[in-house]
């Protein structure tokens, strides 16, 4: 997350997607949050040497992306940015675990490679699904779901405020660092001598802004309580959505569906 302009674009994109209208967007945020969490738990609960049994889980993001008309490339780009971190730790498995696990003709895959591939697939699935959640729900609705889950109001309000001002402050940081770069003849980043004053000025402006925001909240009757509107209730389609996917995930977790399919088709059965 180094490039600030890119980060800003990313927030804007996900925000714009969250405002779209589709069958998935219309579902209750709590239902989506629930299914996403069940999905994540099931995915990471697969053993580290499991690959084939994991694959039916791809169905969930595929269906949601299609139904919600999400653009695949920008989401995939995000995954590619996160992937190296996971590769960094996962890559040691093939290097350290050479015990052969499966062999297909001339190729023999070690336990290490299998677990590495498994981690990669899990990373792909978990990252894509988390992004899908925000892209089909939006931050405001996530906050609504959190309120419904009885997360304290103060925390929810603070979360929303942070989210609201990220774009404002990022723009301010871009302006400040650009102004700095323009006068620092090609030096990359901020020089040691100016760390304190540059970040310090920004910080003081931030605190002044917080003061003004507080004033404006007070002017409109804020008394330390955050009053949200009435929340929509879960309806039949939300329950069906939750039930269907939870069942699907549990079945996928309980039976190795691809193996069953493969066994039938290749005629190999023990």
């Amino acid at each position: 997350m180094v490039n600030i302009a890119e980060a800003l674009d990313n927030i804007r994109l996900l925000d714009a997607l969250g405002e779209e209208k589709s069958t998935v967007h219309a579902l209750h945020p709590l239902a989506k949050l629930f299914v996403t969490l069940v999905f994540l738990i099931i995915v990471i609960s697969f053993s580290k040497h499991e690959i084939s049994a994991l694959l039916p889980m791809v169905l969930f993001p595929t269906i949601i992306i299609t139904l919600a008309d999400l653009p695949v490339l920008p989401l995939m780009k995000r995954v590619l940015i996160v992937l190296p971190l996971v590769i960094g730790i996962g890559i040691f498995n093939p290097l350290l675990d050479h015990r052969p696990m499966v062999s297909l003709g001339a190729i023999t895959l070690s336990y290490g490679w299998i677990s590495f591939i498994s981690i990669m697939i899990k990373c792909l699935l978990t990252v894509i699904t988390s992004l899908i959640l925000i892209a089909t729900t939006g931050m405001t609705n996530i906050a609504l779901a959190l309120r419904k889950l009885k997360v304290p109001k103060i925390f929810v309000l603070q979360l929303l405020l942070t989210y609201r001002y990220i774009t404002v402050l990022m723009e301010e940081v871009i302006l400040t660092t650009t102004a700095y770069a323009l006068r620092s003849s090609g030096i990359k980043g901020i020089h040691f001598k100016h760390w304190g004053s540059l970040l310090g000025q920004l910080l003081i402006r931030t605190i002044d802004r917080a003061q003004r925001v507080y004033t404006s909240m007070c002017c409109r009757g804020f008394d330390g309580n955050y009053n949200t509107g009435t929340m929509p209730t879960l309806v039949a389609k939300d329950y069906i959505f939750m039930l269907f996917w939870t069942l699907f995930f549990i079945i996928t977790r309980s039976f190795n569906l691809p193996m069953l399919l493969g066994t039938i088709l290749t005629g190999v059965y023990p």
């Binding site: 405020l161 003004r212 404006s216 909240m217 002017c219 009757g221 008394d223 509107g229 009435t230």
Partner: protein, 253 residues
């Protein structure tokens, strides 16, 4: 009960660091009146607005709003009566959607959600941005942000409107649109600004502040044309009045 909407008597304010921002200020605002407050940077305009809302309290003197004295106890009522639109709409639009922002005030006054919605829709319709209600504030243009900020004030159904630099950072067309919008409001208004031309359109009366004191209080047309007074207060006669003299001046050069 007084027939004045706002009554300020001899108010003096000194900041904790010792800087005296206001000195012996007295004025009244009556029903259906609009006052422009002008003055150079640091003349005390913003401080005065904060005092009217009870965000700061005067060291000396009293303020009353709609007949109620401004004290800690009466604050909830005061803030229901006065709506303040901030200089920077980004400070005012702190929620993640325009709708939630405009609804913030009414919800704090514990109105039921139907009434809240009615007020939000009405306020957004008045400022003409109902179609933007689900938009995130950072995706609005400068003019739209300003309109949303004003809607967030209107939804509280205030008796008095206070506007701090409403035309700040607006392009000419958005500025004109805003002035037209403000001229349709029947609320008594106080407008602190550097946009002197706007005052001709909106305020029949003007107060000029200099170094925390009232230098003049009178008809806008009289005060703004007074070149000696304006120069003394580090201000300038607006171009719309000085046009002819400027032309002749330039011509003579």
């Amino acid at each position: 009960m007084s027939h004045y909407q706002i009554e300020a008597n001899n108010i003096t304010f000194i900041y904790p660091d010792g800087h005296q921002a206001l000195k012996d200020i007295s004025f009244t605002l009556s029903q259906r009146e609009s006052i422009g407050i002008i003055g150079a940077n640091g003349a005390g305009k913003s401080t005065l607005l904060l005092l009217l809302l009870g965000i700061l309290f005067p060291n000396e003197g009293t303020i009353s709003v709609g007949g109620l004295p401004v004290t800690k106890k009466t604050l909830p009522h005061i803030r229901e009566k006065i709506g303040l639109a901030f200089q920077n709409p980004d400070d005012q639009l702190f929620m993640t959607t325009v709708y939630d922002d405009v609804a913030f005030g009414p919800r704090n006054y514990k109105l039921n959600e139907d009434e809240v919605e009615k007020r939000v829709v009405q306020a957004l319709e008045i400022v003409g941005i109902l179609h933007l209600k689900t938009r995130a504030p950072y995706k609005l243009s400068g003019g739209e942000k300003r309109a949303a900020a004003i809607a967030s004030v209107l939804s509280m159904h205030p008796d008095i409107l206070i506007l701090d630099e409403p035309t700040n950072a607006l392009d000419p067309k958005s500025r004109r649109r805003l002035i037209n919008l403000l001229s349709t409001f029947n609320h008594p208004k106080i407008i602190a600004t550097h946009d002197l031309d706007m005052l001709f359109n909106l305020c029949e009366r003007t107060i000029i502040l200099k170094d925390g004191q009232i230098m003049a209080d009178g008809l806008t047309t009289d005060l703004l044309a007074d070149e000696t007074l304006m120069t003394l207060c580090n201000l300038e006669v607006p171009l719309s009045i000085q046009n002819c003299s400027t032309c002749t001046y330039k011509h003579m050069l």
